[in-house]
Symmetry: D2
Subunit: 133 residues, 4 copies
């Protein structure tokens, strides 16, 4: 399945996700920081970072397994917040660490425009036959 | 600090978070499912669930520790997705499991309006002196 | 399958695990603290706590799913260490939070003999057909 | 502090941990698989893998922060099991991803002697002043 055939993701549109790369082993996306993404202290809400990682991994897995009639759905998302983000872009690079028959595991690094690491996310994406969906 | 004194959270407003309870040991919030929260398959995006848990725990911790001049910031968020959500409300109940000097740990249950468990989240919230912020 | 039919677990014998309860929704086990379980500072090694939780959840899941010809194997183990342990027993109580077709999720509380919470563990146990083992 | 000055770790001796490298950014250790490390199905117990990662990260952090009068203690350990291990060595390579004032975060890869990835572990190690220990 190509990315063009994928239905649009309303929530990703809401937060401004820009898809950059959708490979089965390496995927990237980013979000420009805007005021609507902030929490009470003025920092980017941690949920935005968790969401970006979830989106990029689920999407890349989905695109890869759809060819065999499978679907992909997030099973777990573990985010460690290392450094507050306040401006510029939220840049996510996801590398696949395991591509099993029933689960894929990805490691995601989230960094700011100066290349400083701001969060680490490990996601597990479940792969299931499409008819079970 | 009372909840009224807390600056508004733009991201929580964007996704429609309703605060229900902000106690230091039990906190609750919910979000009404709307189309803007969906991912490509039409389900609620997993990042919304992670965000709701992050918000409710950070907020309750912040309100509790602010009295002593401290601030609270999310350190980690581990979400397990158990059941897709498609309609009604996303209901989060957070129970504090550890209230240490430097970290608070919360367990959050997210369920639908029929009371079915849809996600489990464990958050760690760091507590730091306000002047270090 | 009854617990008597299960092959012995060498590693659990090595660390002294005592099985107390093996139900499909609630399982319990404990370990008496001995010197061989300590790390350099004299505390019980964190790996002992993670191991105990892993054992009790995998075992209870295995016993429950074996009746249908399935096997169970640990998929993930997330342990948060709250309080050092130095003596008495390491007491684990595991409650099943999700009993799906392909994964079971358990929450484990580990406490000392005074009932103080020392660690929280969330485990995911994969359930697979026995012939795929 | 040099590794020679560190008190011996009884639990690591029990399971046969061999220390290979203890740097502040890269640390390595391994365990030879023996029968005492197996669970009922004959595989290496998942707790052994979690323990090895916990040991190597805590030790490397401790050695690094001791110079400034601090101590290090495990705060969380999240292990994903990818592939069963049955023989040879359990090889752990830990890379530091965050070296903060109060927490260090490490990513650990555990592989077999053929270089196949068998587990991924993310650990958080708390750093505290020695007098608070």
């Amino acid at each position: 399945m190509s990315a063009d055939e994928l239905p649009s993701s309303h929530f990703d549109e809401l937060i401004g996700t820009e898809w950059i790369e959708d490979g089965p082993e390496l995927a990237r996306a980013r979000i420009a920081v805007t005021d609507k993404l902030r929490q009470p202290l003025g920092l980017v809400h941690g949920g935005v970072l968790a969401t970006l990682a979830e989106s990029v991994c689920s999407r890349a897995t989905y695109l890869a397994v759809a060819e065999e009639g499978n679907v992909a759905m997030g099973q777990s998302n573990a985010t460690s917040f290392l450094r507050p983000m306040t401006e510029g872009h939220i840049n996510a690079v996801a590398r696949r660490r395991h591509g099993g028959r029933t689960t894929w595991i990805w490691d995601v690094e989230i960094s700011d425009d100066e290349g400083r690491l701001c969060a680490l996310v490990r996601t597990t994406v479940a792969v299931r036959p499409g008819h079970e969906r």
